[in-house]
Symmetry: C2
Subunit: 213 residues, 2 copies
Amino acid sequence: MEKIEKLSVKEFMDKLYSSMPAPGGGSAAALGACIGAALAGMVFNLTTGKKFYNEYDDSVKEKINKSLLRAGELKDEFLELMDEDINAFNKVMAAFKLPKESEEEKDIRSRSIQEAYKGAMEVPLKMARKAIEIFDLLEISAKYGNPNAISDAGVGALFALSALESAVLNVRINLAAIKDRNVVDTASRECEGLLELAKERKERIIELVEGKL
Amino acid sequence: MEKIEKLSVKEFMDKLYSSMPAPGGGSAAALGACIGAALAGMVFNLTTGKKFYNEYDDSVKEKINKSLLRAGELKDEFLELMDEDINAFNKVMAAFKLPKESEEEKDIRSRSIQEAYKGAMEVPLKMARKAIEIFDLLEISAKYGNPNAISDAGVGALFALSALESAVLNVRINLAAIKDRNVVDTASRECEGLLELAKERKERIIELVEGKL
């Protein structure tokens, strides 16, 4: 299947709006995280080489340059995650279509559905973990980045948080179908921790931004 | 200039990441709002014609069908706003490039800059007002929409809020350059009101979503 990132922005939104089950909220979450990573990168790109940048210590310059590169990688990784999310969702759909005549078929189908739901839960969980990294970059961008682009760092933090919260909603809707209590409890706990951390990190970045607005 | 919506998702994100000043946080905010509107539409599209839909009263069906159409319009309007934001930003850049040799030129330039900043502030303010409408649709989708897509309504609400908050950040960074206290005070007050309303609306939708997860 063609990669989602090749769709035009208009085509992506039209497909999201449509009754096609994918792309859905999972891909939207990845797109939001991608916005956060891209905006961090934008602030760094508007920073390197500028007069105030040249006056920074080498350690700060290195931090900025590493963050610029990492933001670019994360941007691409979140674009990939849009496809991963759709593929995982399609596996759930496929499992439901397995035959269910004999007892053996019913058993295979039911185990396949469970496995597929676990796969569909793991993609947004990975997304949520990765979204935390955006806050690391955005905090550096809000501290040392071009002050003319300070609102972009803020927008990045707002999107990183909603992307992470959205990813968690997508973990939870899949968990609702998973019977293995161990899997459910472990993933739920991890999500709680990620949500709490993300809210703190976003607040810290918004404070930095508001201080410079 | 070619419309932003024609860029591929990958091209859009690469440009956002780059040192090109536009697209920036303003277009990102519009894109986030577009995600919210598109997801509301998706939930309605997964609702109409379904068995549970056919059992609704005509008044509910009408509400759903009107909301489905409005979500599609809003999706397109937010895509348009990405270009409007870039155009308004370019006018600020152009005003700064006006000649400033004579006193008369300085005066014209300074008034042009002020006018351009007002224009650049008005686009995200319009965006924020329009984002409130997404909550109206999402609330209907969370109440009456396909329960299998309930997490999509939740993701929509998270993005509608971060889009509105981002739009307000973009209003505020432009207000910081505007000297007319009247304009600044009026816009600031309106933003405060919109933020408060949006947070309430988002909470209400998330409660509905969590109740059905």
